[in-house]
Symmetry: C2
Subunit: 412 residues, 2 copies
């Protein structure tokens, strides 16, 4: 039997924030504080960047009172990074781990971060240095393969659905056309959460557009015209990454935002920056104002909001189940790490179909999770402009309690 | 002694929504249900428009369970309107009131709505028709004169401050320059709420711009440069109505948004529509990217969000004190209406300086409230880019509980 691997551990956070990413961090810390195989727990400042710069918080003795407040704080308490390490960068990480006798590495992030954990894990193995690296999932995008859903998604979905609940009553009160642009470059998971806002007949969103299904200007205009003619109002949910059915030179669909924005920026992963700009919302708004017939010559009242960073970092309004699950995946990673052979894996959640919602935890090799993303199932997208009932069954338990509301039409 | 005035009452809601405007409505309904002087309570659909079209909900027997859900629902449950009645319109209102034996009129809204209640009240008096009209305040803008603050402001301010709390941790985690555009055309009350987000040293917002003090591009750039050089990051709060120190042909300061937006729309009160568009945020963002020196040739990470409609209609995240006060002003209006001589007034809240926060209620002639708006006190604005401690003393009790947070730097 192999001797127990005892040494230090590093925990890091990477990528965009979520409202519960610190729950996972606190899960790691609390479990590591109890763990016999972990001596010091080092918190890498700004993810891999902190590792190569040897900048760490010492966390083994962090007080519980502080940790519980940090768990409620959105965004990465350790600091985050957009660095995506190449082989040379990973070599430096490994050097630092050796120097600090780091034998455990817990990396909390999306699929880019998963890939980093995988590379470092494999590199250590090739190098004969005993290291166990784990990926702890987080992303509001909910686009990790294998995972039923990802920590952070439930809270972001709750925020988005509540935004649409508010807009439903706003739009009933002062009718018009309202467009909300929701985060999601490649997958429509977060935009789909808008349909959780529906309670009464004719509640919005009346049209939902996601990146999975390209949409032409003509189709969008026809959809809006149909809804507006019937209801005299229309609420639209659009992912920031919606595309036209035309491809660019690289063979990718051209996004509406690419067409709309004058200045396109790229982040360091090569992703196009779509958030934080009203360009897409303004573009759809303008299209509708200019091209739709305005009955009776009355100018259409069209407004667009881009929900922006609030979706990923609004404090005090989280999904309780999301917070609990986020903490649990952190704890589980540390528990798994006590056992040889579990390294190089991602902690994932699954549920048993046909049963009441109950989350089970397991691990899968990181390669199953990293790089490629998971789309909304094709049969959950209806006519290219709506989301089916199946999504509601999937999402309701993750999002949890919704605000209580009422309308006077209940009086009858 | 005059005979008791017994008849029907009309309640209406007008203008933009708030998260608690239905608390005031429910306050009116619950009190009217008990009141001997009110026979039927008619809820005007879409404000004055419902009155002239004779479209009413009957509310005297509305069940409490429904009312309590409606109280939690953002936006106007009766429907709202942007109609600002002229003399002819008001004449039609009065005709409808006579037809329906309406002797009491409660109008929930901002200063435009206050003015409508005043005109109808005066017109009835001139006409010898006994009517008692009251203005019940609501506006997230908090810009009504006489009123210490207005129902709706506390909840909007809580939302805005929480948005900035989230951004503080987001910005610590992934440093850069972040601009949030906050509602407020003429007054900076809601933008000022951003400073409630500060807890730790170097917390943002680091710069706050309000409409009360015009700001040049040069001053804004110098401010950002100073903060960014010191902290390596910068969070900016800007009112949608911030202006340049140059005047247009009408003698008004030219707003940044006017300069930025290609298409300026006006609502039916002649107000420029600034919300729902990312133009101002994108304009500030672009200005900083293009004009600020980027140390080390590294491109500045600049992002802008426009908080948009969420500020006025996000459900499930209200200020408790705001909700309670909103209900109370509604109740008080009905109580006052039992007494002759109280008509033509606005229910306002005041506090006694130097004492612990406790709100008192009184009435003031509507003319003291309507039309003109109330700015932030000049001495609460510091160097044209910050808000003083005096605001915190004023606002904290109105906003109430803030989310718990923590940072790892507390470890020392």
């Amino acid at each position: 039997m192999a001797a127990k691997l005892v040494g230090n551990a590093v925990v890091g956070q990477s990528g965009g924030p979520t409202a519960v990413i610190n729950q996972s961090l606190v899960g790691v810390i609390l479990e590591a504080q109890k763990a016999g195989h972990i001596q010091e727990l080092l918190g890498a400042r700004h993810g891999v960047r902190g590792i190569v710069n040897d900048q760490y918080y010492k966390l083994k003795a962090a007080p519980k009172e502080l940790l519980e407040r940090i768990a409620l704080t959105p965004s990465s308490a350790l600091g985050s990074t957009r660095d995506k390490p190449d082989a040379d960068y990973c070599k430096k990480i490994l050097e630092n781990f050796k120097k600090n006798n780091v034998r455990y590495f817990f990396y909390i992030g999306g699929n880019d971060s998963a890939d980093t954990a995988r590379i470092v894990n494999d590199m250590a193995k090739d190098d004969g240095y005993e290291l166990r690296a784990y990926h702890i999932p987080k992303t509001i995008d909910n686009d990790l393969r294998v995972h039923d859903h990802t920590p952070g998604y439930g809270s972001a979905a709750k925020f988005v659905s509540s935004a649409f609940i508010g807009d439903n009553y706003d739009n009933r009160s002062l009718p018009g056309i309202k467009i909300n642009v929701v985060m999601g470059r490649h997958a429509g998971w977060l935009t789909a959460a808008s349909v959780l806002a529906r309670k009464y007949e004719n509640d919005g969103p009346h049209l939902v557009y996601v990146p999975e299904v390209p949409v032409t200007e003509e189709k969008l205009l026809a959809d809006v015209d149909r809804v507006y003619s019937k209801l005299g109002r229309c609420i639209i949910a659009a992912s920031e990454g919606i595309s036209l059915p035309e491809k660019n030179a690289k063979g990718h669909y051209i996004t509406w935002a690419e067409k709309a924005a004058q200045n396109i920026e790229h982040d360091s992963h090569g992703n196009i920056q779509l958030s934080g700009s009203g360009a897409l919302g303004d573009c759809i708004s303008q299209l509708i104002t200019q091209k739709l017939p305005n009955p009776g010559g009355k100018k259409l009242r069209v407004r667009a909001d881009t929900l922006g960073y609030l979706q990923r970092s609004f404090p005090g309004y989280i999904s309780k189940i999301d917070a609990a699950e986020a903490r649990e995946v952190g704890k589980r990673a540390v528990k798994y790490s006590a056992k040889a052979g579990t390294e190089g894996s991602s902690v994932y959640m699954y549920r048993v179909p046909g049963q009441d919602y109950e989350i089970n935890y397991a691990i899968t090799p990181i390669a199953n999770v990293a790089r490629e993303t998971k789309d909304l199932p094709a049969d959950w997208i209806v006519d290219g402009c709506d989301i089916s009932e199946k999504y509601l069954q999937y999402a309701k338990p993750i999002v949890g309690d919704q605000p209580q509301v009422g309308i006077l039409d209940e009086l009858k």
